[in-house]
Amino acid sequence: MADDVLFEFLHMEMVSHIYKDQASRGEMEKDRATCVSTLEGMGFRVGQGLIERFTKDSPSFKDDLDVMKFICKDFWINVFRKQIDNLRTNHQGTYVLQDNKFALLTQFSNGKQYLEEAPKYLAYSCGLVRGALSNLGMDCVVTAEVSLMPSCESLLSSSSSSFIIYHHTTPNITDTTEMF
């Protein structure tokens, strides 16, 4: 029964190591994108394994929306100890999962401080989700976006993060607010 905090510490150290390693190797080609994709790749493998363990006894899912609901409820509870707060979809393959108090970001800040650092800590989780979905038969692109609530007085949303899932690898037209 590993305590939740162990995972958080390990995750923090992993991110810090990958970035330090990249800096010390001094290779010009290796930049932030590589670090992000390394972390994402690790999350992907873990996500695949985890979802197999979670769903080995459950019946197969009816459709994609069913899969997404599973991710938002059971998967998120098991991994991040709470449910997704809001799920939106355009019924054409794009899903937005909103978590108002993302477990890995709550210790950072209650407003906009350290906003630039947040993507590093989301890469692994994006990989987790992508891996889970891939083993459930959904090929997706998962990106994360952190946009903090403007009014920091409202205590209920500390760091609000959205996971944007594009099903069927639609070309990524949108905004630049993603992973870097």
Binding site: A2, L6, F9, S16, M42, R45, V46, L50, R81
Partner: protein, 180 residues
């Protein structure tokens, strides 16, 4: 809330799988990044050290254990409280050296190595070396310099996992006057 009650044991177990799988992904990544096992062992130890120096704060906050009087008491606290709290296991403390400064922690089971098999070309990899670093870092923050290493490892064919801990010295608190 009631549906959560029979999930908590489930989700604790799932969390430990998340941690175990994440650790596995980390070791795999390190093996890819570094050519030889010795280097990976060193990195794991360093990362463990960084985690340990923070984990001790968490431990002291949760357990409200006071200062230990001697090394024996420390070993007891580590095995009965700390290991139980974070990994859900209670190693036994044995093989004390005559001078009372060296001991063995015998772990019947090691949660980090669930699902793990060492391939033949990594025979000198100390897979759980993170634990050694964690112990070393945590104890350093409470003014004890120790040397920790694995004496036996189930992954390498031994019956039990044995961690050998040697007390080196008490670290004197350095006041920040003068030069270092």
């Amino acid at each position: 809330m009631s549906r959560q009650s029979n999930r908590t044991t489930d989700s604790k177990k799932m969390n430990s799988e998340l941690f175990t799988l994440t650790y596995g992904a980390l070791v795999t990544q390190l093996c890819k990044d570094y050519e030889n096992d010795e280097e990976v062992n060193k990195q794991l130890d360093k990362m463990g050290y960084n985690i340990g120096v923070r984990l001790i704060e968490d431990f002291l906050a949760r357990s409200s254990i006071g200062r230990c009087q001697d090394f024996r008491e420390t070993a007891d606290v580590i095995s009965k409280v700390a290991f139980k709290m974070y990994l859900g296991i209670t190693p036994s403390v044995t093989n004390w050296s005559p001078a009372g400064d060296e001991l063995s922690l015998i772990l019947e089971s090691n949660p980090l190595v669930d699902f793990v098999e060492l391939p033949d070309n990594h025979s000198s990899l100390v897979y759980s070396n993170l634990l050694c670093g964690v112990l070393r870092g945590a104890l350093e923050m409470v003014q004890m310099a120790v040397d920790v290493k694995f004496a036996q490892d189930t992954l390498r064919g031994d019956n039990v996992t044995e961690i050998r801990m040697k007390f080196i010295k008490r670290i004197e608190e350095n006041l920040p006057a003068g030069d270092e």
